[in-house]
């Protein structure tokens, strides 16, 4: 893929389930190595949009190109190759409950990389160490806390060194300090691997700290409200609802 192709490009995208559209008129372009935050009220369709962006669901109409490939048009080989370049953290972590953390992270490597198992082990250990889970490596997902599961989910999403990471509410349910560490981790991953990241978050300080761009989904009009760097929304002259979303947390009443 050409280095100048945008990593993600949507035009007039409409997402939904069955015949019911959840969110329409979504258009934006994300360059390589940038971090995009998707924000909006609960239930407005952030997770749904993310699934479509990541190629897990088909769009209802419009187009969406991931790494220069339109996943709804591409043949299955191109689709799979593109999906392998992306990592996904689900809102509920979605770790395989019968595998230990190590096995969870080794699983995609075993499927896709033809390298020795000792090398796979060492990669998995490194990835888990990156998210601070060296000590819980042989635990089952049922034996760790929700925040640890999130971090393990991130490690699994990073298993194949993806070009783009989709993180659905990575810091939900984490304490402020851990959540701050997670922001640093996200920034470091971007800086070191030049990975592009799309994340859903409700935490304004964290969005301001990490994201380069921000998509605001408007639940009243069911359309994309605004697309701009998050700092811009602090300006009262910007999109009104997005501004109130951002200022509500920053300035206590």
């Amino acid at each position: 893929m050409d280095v100048t192709t945008p990593i993600l490009k949507c035009a007039k995208l409409c997402v939904g389930y069955g015949d019911v559209s959840v969110m329409k008129d979504i258009s934006f372009t994300l360059e390589r190595g940038k971090i995009l935050a998707i924000v909006g009220p609960s239930g407005c369709g952030k997770s749904t949009l993310m699934r479509v962006l990541g190629g897990l669901d088909e769009p209802m109409s419009g187009s969406c190109e991931l790494l220069g490939v339109d996943l709804s048009q591409a043949d299955s080989r191109a689709r799979e190759a593109t999906l392998r370049q992306s990592g996904f953290l689900f809102q509920g972590s979605a770790l395989f409950s019968s595998l230990t953390l190590r096995e969870n992270i080794e699983m995609p490597m075993r499927e896709f990389l033809k390298i020795s198992s000792s090398q796979i082990r060492q990669l998995a250990e490194y990835k888990l160490a990156c998210v601070g889970l060296s000590d819980a490596i042989d635990k089952l997902p049922s034996e760790i806390s929700g925040g640890m599961a999130k971090r393990a989910g991130i490690a699994r999403a990073m298993a194949l060194d993806p070009e783009i990471l989709f993180l659905d509410e990575p810091s939900a349910g984490l304490d402020p300090l851990t959540s701050e560490r997670l922001d640093d981790l996200i920034l470091k991953v971007r800086e070191s691997f030049n990975t592009s990241i799309v994340l859903v978050s409700h935490e304004v300080p964290s969005i301001l700290h990490t994201a380069d761009y921000c998509v605001y989904l408007d639940s009243d009009t069911l359309t994309m409200g605004a697309y701009a760097p998050p700092k811009d929304f602090l300006d009262p002259k910007s999109h009104a609802k997005a501004h109130s979303f951002f200022s509500r947390v920053v300035t206590p009443k």
């Binding site: 893929m1 409950s97 990389l113 390298i115 060492q122 194949l160 060194d161 981790l185 470091k188």
Partner: protein, 364 residues
């Protein structure tokens, strides 16, 4: 991504005076290619680049793996990006959780405590079930009655075809075996006694009990087990509802109501199956039926009925218990289903043996 012919990852080691080891790394390090292996002893290492081309997480993971226990690791001459990747994996005090591997003796102890506590949990569950049943009797429990009617259907009515088939075949097989033996003494007419008595006292209850274990226990165990996984049982508890009472009581009631009826049904179908074999060979329908009616008394019906009542309770309880204590994982739910069937069948056979002794003692 880039398909250009990259040089393979390479290393060379140089031991210097004063215990310092210099390791030169070069080439291209990618996670989909084999990496060089390293045999190395020492606690002072400096890694330098020697024609290092490109790398992904393969290189930091290799460094992390080989040098995580080295006292002094000098990376200062490596690219900044690589340094920060290695540092990312360093032990961080801010999110640590200490954990030590248990040794053999501890494992043994843990096993002992666990097997002891699993008896405890079984007793606890029996206790909760009984109080739940009692509270239901006096109308003070919270029970999901829609589960009750649903289970009447799925554990009862839906089992009719399989119970009919197996009951029929059991009667048929017994008649065959019996006929061969009875012919030798010229008493073929007693095949009716054999089939009728065995079906009413023994086989009707046992077969339906085992079918209930295979169909119902496993389904209960996986239903309740997956409710464990998704924390639904915790949600019930948080609402102040006892999950054993709410979930297990309606299921057990429905099964103990339906399985004795199924067993009765199996008995008649089995006697009918025996009749087909007997009448195809040596007996007339009249002879067979007369003989059968003479053979069975109300007492033998009662024996079969009491047994199947207990078997039903065992099958339903085993499923609910195994689901209740299931591990919170997909694997745990599968294990719960398997062990529910095993537990149910084992307990039913043991109970049958106990009944045989008791009924014999009291000449029932």
């Amino acid at each position: 991504m880039s398909e250009k012919s990259a040089r393979q990852a390479s290393i060379s080691t140089e031991n210097q005076t004063g215990g310092l080891t210099i390791i030169k790394i070069g080439g291209s390090w990618r996670i989909d290619q084999p990496l060089p292996s390293l045999n190395f002893k020492g606690d002072q290492v400096k890694i330098v680049s020697d024609g290092l081309e490109d790398f992904d997480s393969a290189l930091p993971s290799w460094i992390h793996h080989n040098f995580k226990n080295v006292r002094e690791l000098d990376l200062s001459e490596l690219p900044k990006r690589l340094q920060s990747l290695v540092r990312l994996a360093e032990k961080n005090t801010q999110w640590k959780s200490e954990d030590e591997k248990p040794n053999l003796l501890e494992n043994f102890g843990v096993w002992g405590i666990e097997s002891y506590s699993s008896w405890g949990r079984a007793m606890d569950h029996i206790g909760q079930t009984s109080t739940g049943l009692f509270r239901t009797l006096i109308g003070r429990s919270k029970v999901n009655w829609s589960d009750f009617t649903l289970q009447l259907q799925t554990a009862g009515v839906d089992a009719l075809p399989i119970v009919a088939l197996l009951g029929f075949l059991t009667g048929l097989i017994m008649a065959y075996v019996g006929l061969i033996q009875l012919r030798q003494v010229g008493a073929t007419v007693y095949v009716a006694n054999l089939v009728a008595l065995a079906m009413t006292r023994e086989m009707g209850a046992l077969m339906t009990g085992i079918i209930a274990c295979g169909r119902t226990s496993t389904s209960f165990a996986s239903q309740l087990g997956s409710m464990n996984v998704s924390q639904e049982s915790d949600a019930l508890r948080a609402l102040g509802i006892n999950p054993v009472e709410y979930l297990a009581v309606p299921r057990i009631l429905a099964v103990t109501l339906m399985v004795p009826l199924l067993s009765l049904f199996a008995t008649f179908v089995g006697i009918f199956g025996g009749m087909i074999v007997a009448c195809a060979g040596d007996l007339s329908i009249d002879q067979y039926l007369n003989q059968a009616i003479k053979a069975i008394t109300f007492k033998s019906f009662l024996v079969g009925f009491i047994k199947s009542f207990f078997f039903a309770f065992i099958a339903a309880w085993a499923g609910c218990y195994r689901g209740y204590v299931a591990q919170r994982s997909a694997l745990g739910v599968g294990d719960a289903a398997t062990s529910a069937a095993v537990l149910g069948i084992t307990l039913i056979v043991i109970a049958d043996a106990i009944f045989a002794v008791i009924f014999n003692l009291y000449n029932f």
